[in-house]
């Protein structure tokens, strides 16, 4: 059986399973709260899988594999950065956010800082940032299908968008959580089958090590210097600590304890996936020492190294990763429109039914529009995600982490922090690299956000104090 036919069959079975779960979720979704946060019914196992699936995206299977291919074993040191981010989240963000009982992240900001402007600004920033990430997911899907099957990217994007939209629109968070669980299983299956076969082809671990050292001694030693690695790990960690599409997942879990356990379960899934991704990257370097593009490592493996069935499962795993991230993005963005902008700012008296309807309509619209942007290929997938990765923590990290853990911040401090952080990050991305390339835009964005947050909050507090003193 050819790879194309086997892949078609495997994909058909997989999509059928997604639609069945979507329909099951639809039957249980009665209110907009059911839709956005699954009625707060998700437990630790599914919750942990959901967190892992949301974070593992097209980039893990394409970008991270490619990065290990280029840089070797030492690139694995970014994972402690990711786990550090999860640790911050588990200690200072997730359980408190869950206990707060909000439906979206702007909900929390609006309530914590008693500010409608904070809600509106954060909702708009989330929509902008995540639409960029969605374009990246579609573009990655187009490239995978084109590389493996020669299919026009537009068709591949349409297939991805339609299947993701169907299950997201039908069952919202409930179906997406159970589908994420299935997707993590598929990812684990695809990766765990690929690694032993690659090891066998590469002549075993000892020979692979010798071959890697022979190709480039940095592949088994240090490729980047420690400052670069620390910067990379920090960027990953800070992004994970306050990512709205992960935070929304916390809201859907039962309670604080469930959130903490789920983060632990997520660690385990990520450790397995991270190790397999590293092995695939370095073993592909042994088997194909000079690929035309490092981003092709996964596709070449699926097509040329694995058997048709294992290769198909791996491609489906890559598509699963794209789908789970797209689905999480769609839920966050549609929540921003229907719940925060429409339901809380424009029409606070809107019925729950109309919000649920708007949720589904906005998911359809938001899922379709990025196809056009993805087809324009303004830049490559990696660059699109880098923009989003820098942007989100630049405006969110400080107001959320300090808002949850301290009473110091004021509404104007939070708004100044969000606005300053996002503008600072964008400005540094455009021009800052030329001035001081050692600093990343995310570090500058967070630093500006923190300075403005504390300065404006302190000024506001002094003003309040002097005003109350003069009145007394």
């Amino acid at each position: 059986m050819t790879v194309g036919l086997t892949f078609g069959l495997v994909l058909a079975v997989y999509v059928a399973a997604l639609i069945v779960i979507g329909i099951a979720g639809y039957r249980k979704t009665k209110t907009s709260e059911d839709f956005l946060i699954a009625g707060r019914s998700i437990g630790p196992w599914v919750g942990g899988a959901v967190l892992a699936a949301t974070q593992i995206s097209a980039g893990t299977f394409v970008g991270t594999v490619g990065r290990h291919y280029l840089a070797g074993v030492s690139f694995a040191w970014v994972w402690p950065g990711v786990w550090f981010g999860w640790l911050i989240s588990a200690l200072f963000v997730a359980p408190k956010l869950r206990e707060f009982g909000a439906v979206t992240v702007p909900d929390f900001l609006a309530a914590r800082y008693s500010s409608r402007l904070a809600r509106g600004l954060s909702a708009v920033l989330i929509i902008v940032a995540y639409m960029i990430l969605l374009v990246a997911q579609y573009q990655a899907c187009g490239e995978i299908f084109q590389a493996i099957f020669g299919l026009a990217p537009g068709w591949a994007m349409l297939m991805l968008a339609s299947s993701t939209l169907v299950y997201t629109m039908l069952g919202g968070m409930r179906s997406s959580s159970y589908i994420d669980f299935l997707q993590v299983l598929v990812m684990l299956g695809g990766l765990m089958v690929a690694v032993p076969l690659l090891l066998y082809r590469a002549g075993g671990l000892a020979h692979a090590g010798q071959a890697l050292t022979f190709l480039d001694p940095r592949l088994t030693g240090w490729f980047y210097d420690w400052k670069q690695m620390l910067g990379l790990a920090l960027s990953f960690g800070l992004t994970m600590a306050a990512a709205p599409y992960e935070m929304v997942r916390f809201y859907s879990m039962r309670d604080r304890a469930t959130v903490r356990t789920a983060i632990g379960v997520c660690f385990v899934f990520q450790a397995i996936i991270g190790s397999c991704v590293m092995m695939i990257g370095i073993l592909m370097r042994v088997l194909f020492p000079r690929l035309a593009s490092i981003d092709q490592a996964s596709s070449v493996m699926a097509l040329n190294v694995l058997s048709p069935l294992a290769g198909s499962l791996f491609v489906v795993a890559m598509i699963s990763a794209i789908m789970s991230s797209s689905n999480a993005i769609l839920l966050v963005v549609s929540g921003g429109i229907s719940h925060d902008i429409y339901g809380k700012l424009l029409r606070p008296a809107a019925s729950d039914r109309s919000r649920l309807l708007l949720n589904r309509i906005s998911i359809f619209a938001l899922g379709a529009v990025p196809i056009w942007f993805a087809l324009q290929r303004f830049t490559d997938v990696q660059q699109l995600v880098v923009i989003e990765t820098r942007f989100v923590p630049s405006f969110f990290l400080v107001p959320i982490v300090f808002g949850l853990n301290s009473k110091f911040g004021t509404p104007s401090g939070a708004i100044a922090g969000m606005a300053g952080g996002s503008v600072g990050c964008l400005a540094w991305s455009a021009w800052g690299g030329r001035i001081a390339p050692a600093f990343d835009a995310v570090e500058i964005g967070i630093a500006i956000s923190a300075i403005l947050y504390f300065l404006v909050s302190a000024a506001g507090r002094r003003q309040e104090a002097s005003w109350s003193a003069s009145v007394s």
Partner: protein, 195 residues
């Protein structure tokens, strides 16, 4: 986690100006199965390749460096002999230290086996049979080695046919899917665990 990318972009921009392999053709031939003669023809594209060097995997792990630069669009040959080990052939290919252009079919590997022999069971990459004793594989990138098992025509044993890495990995896929489905049913019965 696509997350890193700027370094990729710089690498890709730098790579555009670099010399590339336009066509790579490897011919592997054996008269008796005890040794394999490898003849490689490489055509380059892009800028002049100033320090032409190749890596050779396998037991050797060595570099083959040419003593002259390769002008763009020209073709050069490499030839070497690799000993065979029984029915199993593991033949390292000289891989230029520049990448291909990534177009499908730009890499072609042809294998001609001793008369009366065929590839049985395991092989890498996947070869298609051309005629008696001749096989070909077309790829977009150059593998570091070619690997296959040979047997006299019609005499491949059960192990060679059925216990191959490809079949084992397919079995592992099926086993995993069945175990995951059963596990899901089990956990669903114990609703607390499933949730």
């Amino acid at each position: 986690m696509v997350r890193i990318g700027l370094l990729n972009v710089f690498a890709m921009v730098a790579a555009l100006a670099a010399p590339r392999v336009a066509h790579y053709r490897a011919e592997i031939r054996s008269e008796d199965g005890r040794s394999y003669q490898v003849r490689i023809a490489v055509q380059t594209a892009g800028e002049e390749w100033r320090k032409p060097s190749h890596t050779l995997d396998g037991e050797l792990l060595k570099r083959i460096t040419l003593d002259r630069a390769i002008p763009p669009g020209s073709t050069y040959d490499l030839q070497y002999t690799v000993p065979g080990t029984g029915n199993r052939a593991r033949i390292p290919l000289a891989v230029p230290e520049i990448a291909t252009q990534g177009t499908p079919g730009s890499v072609r590997i042809e294998t001609t086996l001793p008369l009366g022999y065929q590839i049985a069971g395991d092989m890498f990459p996947v070869f298609a049979r051309n005629g008696s004793g001749s096989y070909a594989a077309e790829l977009a990138n150059i593998p570091s080695e070619v690997e296959f098992e040979i047997a006299a025509s019609g005499q491949a044993d059960l192990r060679q046919r059925w216990i191959t890495p490809a079949i084992l990995s397919d079995s592992a896929v099926i086993l995993f899917l069945v175990a995951a489905s059963l596990g899901r049913l089990f956990l669903r019965k114990k609703a607390g665990l499933w949730r």
